[in-house]
Point group: C2
Chain length 170, copies 2
């Protein structure tokens, strides 16, 4: 009869931890998928509160943040680098539609499909290597600043805005 602890040690610790974060990441992305499939265009165009961002901007912001992961994790190039300026570098411009809702939904799906593919090619050990925004010197002192930690912070960030987006759905 094995104790809990011995049993845990059967699986690689890194594998368990990577699964924990990837499961959380995938669950959040699926909740955004579901939201985007169910929300109407009119609902999505609504501001989450008077004078605040619209759902379209927040959805674009989430797509831009996901697209940026290729670069930050060092696993490829952004698929839609134009999203960065519109949804990360600048506040919402409500006078001008820059990307249509249909385009946004398409980009969201494509970015996430490509991320999933790249993620499946990373070994557990590679998830614990440093991400692109930390120097080798800093990483030596702070080994928690790894690729997986970026995904953790993005998962939490996505949940923050999903909480706001879900307000729009009747």
């Amino acid at each position: 009869m094995q104790t809990q602890l011995e049993k845990t040690n059967d699986a690689t610790e890194k594998e368990i931890f990577v699964k924990m974060i990837l499961d959380a990441w995938n669950a959040q992305n699926e909740r955004v998928d579901k939201f985007l499939a169910e929300v109407s265009d009119d609902e999505l165009k609504t501001e989450i509160a008077t004078g605040k961002n619209s759902g379209v901007y927040l959805a674009g912001h989430l797509a831009a943040v996901n697209d940026n992961l290729f670069e930050i994790l060092g696993i490829g190039e952004n698929l839609y680098p134009e999203l960065k300026e519109v949804f990360l570098g600048n506040p919402e411009n409500k006078e001008k539609e820059t990307v249509s809702i249909d385009e946004l939904k398409k980009y969201w799906g494509e970015i996430n499909a490509e991320l999933s593919k790249k993620f499946s090619e990373l070994s557990p050990a590679e998830w614990f290597e440093k991400h692109a925004s930390v120097s080798a010197e800093d990483f030596a002192k702070e080994p928690h600043r790894n690729r997986l930690n970026v995904l953790l912070s993005r998962t939490i960030h996505q949940s923050y805005h999903l909480g706001q987006l879900n307000i729009l759905k009747k």
Copy 2:
């Protein structure tokens, strides 16, 4: 000269994982602390959108979820078990004030101070033991269902509602 990977292996892997999740957890709680310190009572009493929960209910909900961690993680007893029925077991009752804003803020601080104390007593290995809502049998097959994974899911959940709460602040 060490490679990144060798350097990472110097620190106990489990310690790094625990630090990643605890850092994220603490950062979220500090953001809620900041929100509660800055928001006015009138803002907090406002609904996040017409017909949706008020800020008071969401703050109470977050306090109740944190208080429940003692039980789920098997590290003590809930400090304010009465929160459970009001903010977890039932939807908001807007006709009746059950807990005052001052009480809620006090509870929030006390619950988190006690959680921090208990967390500091857990070893990295203990974080990877099963939580109270999973059977030993299931845990043997699914070793990711550990205490740390509960804290991860609660961190993401907290961020979801913080996104909504921040809408209320002028």
